[in-house]
């Protein structure tokens, strides 16, 4: 599979989900179970991505400058900082720790 194929397949699936919502009767949502699972699925995937993106390097678990950066990001989110500030602050913390040689 080329990267282009993967991009197009993933994009088409995502567009299909959006379209599907307009094709099924709204009553389907009244069943609490599918609505709850869709909600929690988003939470689980994002949380797993946070973990892997913070600690993973390929198949290894590595604690490096990303960990303090994500802790700073969490603190800023607690203070209700906007998205861009949170992301930029995390990048800055990791970049500075590496520049000063305090973390890998």
């Amino acid at each position: 599979m080329t990267l282009w194929t993967a991009i197009l397949v993933a994009s088409i699936i995502c567009v299909a989900w959006k379209t599907l919502g307009y094709l099924v009767p709204p009553k389907v949502l009244e069943a609490p179970r599918p609505a709850r699972i869709a909600d929690l699925l988003t939470v689980a995937l994002l949380a797993a991505l946070v973990a892997v993106q913070t600690l993973g390097v390929g198949q290894a678990i590595v604690v490096d400058a990303r960990v303090p950066a994500v802790i700073v990001a969490a603190g800023l989110l607690l203070l209700r900082a906007p998205f861009l500030v949170v992301v930029a602050a995390a990048a800055l913390v990791a970049a500075l720790l590496r520049l000063w040689g305090w973390a890998a």
């Binding site: 990267l3 993967a6 991009i7 197009l8 993933a10 994009s11 088409i12 699936i13 995502c14 567009v15 989900w17 959006k18 379209t19 919502g21 307009y22 949502l29 009244e30 069943a31 609490p32 179970r33 599918p34 609505a35 709850r36 699972i37 869709a38 909600d39 929690l40 699925l41 988003t42 939470v43 689980a44 995937l45 994002l46 949380a47 797993a48 991505l49 946070v50 973990a51 892997v52 993106q53 993973g56 390097v57 198949q59 400058a65 990303r66 950066a69 994500v70 990001a73 989110l77 209700r80 906007p82 998205f83 861009l84 992301v87 602050a89 990048a91 913390v93 990791a94 590496r98 520049l99």
Partner: protein
């Protein structure tokens, strides 16, 4: 309408939000509609700005500028886009099936949003087909936060179209920037990706059940990282949500009316922008 009249409508609008049934008073409707448009533009500005981080991250993950732009033009749903490039960045082309699956699973919630928006949008093939592509977290949240039918329509279209334009421009800018940066680690872009996922997750962590699922999924994904190929740990962590959601472990004891719980979840998701005009 003058600003004075607009201001006069505002307290009414506030009262309106308490009652569940929309009213269709003309003056109130015009004020609500303007408010919906302003809110949509504010949300679009904030959201579009982080398209820059998406563009830069995608290029450093190994996509070229065109591929990055196609994701924003066609896929157009931030969470799935970040997930796709995150998995490709970690596992390369070998992780492509896992990248597709992650993006697809994160996109499921847009189907739920489409079901909520469908009666608001109304009939007509092209109108519905167009609305489908603009159905994302932000457009749905702004729309459902309004109380009149017209304001809901304006909120949806203004937010959706403004984000589509802004998100694609900022994606291109970010991709061009990422192309000239060099080593992404020196700029902390790997940490920025983790922070981006955390910021997307944060507004969804209000209820006990969601927090438990988030913590468990993070632990499962971390524990499986050394033993599985990149991308798969994230997919397997998703089963936590299916199991907990199916049996409703740690769920609220009395079931809220489904439509309301969805609207409440969206209001929570919208909260980061509450302070905007």
């Amino acid at each position: 309408m003058t600003d004075e009249a607009d201001a006069a409508c505002r307290p009414l609008g506030r009262l309106e939000r308490v009652s569940a049934t929309p009213h269709f008073d003309d003056a109130h409707d015009a004020g609500e509609t303007r408010r919906a448009g302003r809110q949509g533009l504010g949300v679009a500005l904030a959201t579009s700005a982080y398209g820059i981080s998406f563009g830069a991250l995608a290029v450093t993950a190994g996509l070229d500028v065109w591929q990055t732009c196609v994701l924003s033009l066609v896929m157009f749903t931030g969470g799935s886009q970040f997930a796709f490039v995150g998995v490709i960045g970690a596992g390369g082309l070998a992780a492509a099936p896992a990248a597709i699956a992650s993006a697809a699973l994160l996109g499921i919630r847009n189907a739920a949003y489409g079901m909520r928006m469908s009666p608001v949008i109304g009939s007509g093939f092209w109108r519905r087909a167009g609305a489908a592509q603009f159905t994302i977290d932000e457009s749905t949240a702004v729309s459902l936060a309004q109380t009149t039918r017209r304001a809901r329509l304006v909120g949806f279209w203004v937010t959706g179209i403004a984000i589509y334009v802004g998100w694609n421009i900022s994606t291109l800018a970010g991709a061009l920037l990422g192309d000239v940066l060099g080593d992404p680690k020196a700029y902390g872009l790997d940490a920025a990706a983790a922070a981006a996922f955390l910021a997307l997750l944060w507004p969804r962590l209000r209820r006990r059940q969601a927090i438990a699922v988030g913590v468990a999924a993070a632990i499962v994904a971390t524990a499986l990282t050394p033993v599985l190929m990149p991308g798969l740990p994230v997919l397997i962590a998703a089963f936590v949500a299916i199991v907990v959601g199916w049996f409703n472990w740690l769920g609220e004891s009395e079931a809220a009316p489904p439509g309301q719980s969805e609207a409440a979840a969206l209001r929570r998701a919208q909260e980061p922008w509450e302070g905007l005009p």
